[in-house]
Symmetry: C2
Subunit: 337 residues, 2 copies
């Protein structure tokens, strides 16, 4: 079996590749389980060293829109596409045309390339909880269901929601076997801060654990809906293995999320690394970031995902302990217990 | 004030043009009322004679995508765009690429042309009740609200729903003042049958009134949600005059619909034109058409439209009497009462 991961050299794409490579035979859409012969990573940047060293990993470097439009992707013998590549929310707000090209045109070109391949590959589309946005004109319900009407409040959310519609119709037409999956805010992300408004939801843990000061720009009582990297990848893989009947409607499913607060995240940090760690958090409100973060939903009833056996992370303590175990080289503070 | 109507020579576009030309000064989006100096009709086919003879009417013939992309539309001094042009559902199912071009690419090109004009014209987008579709995987609720999640079951519905998202985001960005309006099934349409599955919902009245046999391909108890041509145009005009505050959320509003049944429609025909008329209806079920028609919602709670002062037609008798009065030349049967 051959797999294509777009954005495959990013944090989530690389983790997905490692999970698939380590996971043994995979049963796509309820079909027979098969070993993974090849994973193609399509990205602008080269893969991490461990993936580059794996003989099963192929790397196709370049602009995904051009790759999809020009036949540079090995779709003729690809069984499953995981489409993770995207311009992020901040980029899309700053450069409208960039977002339309990277998220809308590229998704459509990739779907058209799959259609041209002619064998209806499994197509997992990583949508986002960012399709939901609260606004004075239209309040979000207290709890988000799979059937809640998305009301995106930024271009990234609009483009992701349009992508869901394309995947749904290309699936109905038999061009792909689409699986629309809405990812929650992923925390704790390793590595460096990025331009996303949600960046601090990883940074306020990751930086103090490395002995570095970090800013929390929202009030401690701010509720947030999170999923760990491992749980997020588990949801993406489960989307690919579900049969059409298990999957059900072509509309997107919300992945499960742990509802917590920024205060509880800081308390978990103190339990793991002591007051020395939480003393490194600067509680400095930023109205612009707070406006974005508080527009996101914090309570998700992920009924369809749960019916597929997916669960929210048990606690933020568990998420944080996973991070510490998986990223020991990035943790310099002494840990407790 | 200058107006552009795409699909302006079609049945609804021409009726909208006549309504605007006869209606006196228009207050767009709550602004000052102004006389209409020019209505540009963009279409592939020429306008009806009465519109062609009006000095205020300009006709731009051609393919709308090319017109929008090539600067052939007079957007620099256009105050309001009514975007009615579309490939219909049957065409979009038969030719996927045609539908994507006519409905998605053309809507985007028209929005981009408005954006390039730089003065954020009012942009009324005619979406459709076809964004709602019942399926075994996802049942529609008994009553459709403005906040009901659309689950399109055909490409036309998907493309209209994507158009709504584009209009919403171009509005949020300040490129246009968008108004997403979902039209109900329009009955009684004058003229000839077309390829739409809903065509019989006009034909089973119009043809018998002209002394011609007509087929009803669904069971008499089939519920349907209808709006008269006049009420539909009233909804489109109201969308253009509503202030941003009156309009509210950038998501689409459902126009009001009269819920009736095919049997009640035939009974209304009998009251207007006697048993001689209803004897011309052939009740011959067609499973393919019935499948499509019964997937549509029949009960619409159009809360936002009602808050704007819009109402469903009072009865199908009233709709039918309007048709007879407005289309006397097409009615050959003697009328009762």
């Amino acid at each position: 079996m051959n797999v294509l991961i777009t954005g495959g050299c990013g944090f989530l794409g690389a983790r997905l590749a490692r999970t698939l490579l380590a996971g043994g035979p995979l049963a796509l859409a309820g079909g027979p389980a098969k070993d993974i012969a090849r994973i193609t990573l399509a990205d602008r940047v080269p893969p991490p060293a461990d993936l580059a060293a794996d003989a099963r990993v192929q790397f196709v470097q370049g602009d995904l829109y051009e790759q999809a439009a020009n036949g540079a992707l090995p779709l003729a013998d690809t069984d499953a596409v995981f489409h993770l590549a995207a311009a992020v929310s901040g980029e899309c707000e700053a450069d409208f045309d960039l977002g339309m090209r990277s998220n809308l045109d590229t998704t459509r070109a990739l779907l058209d390339a799959c259609r041209a391949a002619g064998h209806a590959p499994v197509f997992v589309f990583s949508s986002s909880v960012a399709v939901f946005g609260d606004s004075p004109e239209q309040r979000l319900p207290a709890v988000i269901e799979d059937t809640t009407l998305p009301t995106p409040q930024n271009s990234y959310g609009i483009q992701k929601f349009i992508g869901e519609q394309l995947v749904a119709d290309y699936t109905r037409k038999g061009f792909v076997q689409g699986r629309n999956v809405r990812l929650m805010t992923v925390s704790v992300r390793p590595g460096r801060p990025n331009g996303a408004a949600s960046s601090f939801l990883s940074g306020m843990l990751r930086e103090p654990l490395a002995g570095v000061r970090a800013r929390c720009p929202v009030a401690p009582e701010t509720p947030v809906a999170l999923a760990s990297p491992g749980n997020t990848v588990a949801g993406i893989v489960r989307a690919a293995t579900a049969t059409a009947a298990e999957w059900g409607a072509r509309t997107a499913i919300n992945l499960p999320a742990l509802t917590t607060t920024v205060r509880e995240m800081a308390q978990a940090l103190e339990r793991v690394a002591g007051a020395e760690a939480t003393a490194l958090i600067d509680w400095e409100p930023d109205a612009a970031i707070a406006k974005i973060v508080t527009s996101w939903p914090s309570r998700i009833h992920a009924a369809r995902a749960e019916a597929l056996g997916l669960k929210a992370d048990a606690s933020f303590d568990a998420i944080l302990r996973d991070y510490v175990r998986e990223n020991a080289q990035a943790v310099t503070l002494p840990l407790k217990g």
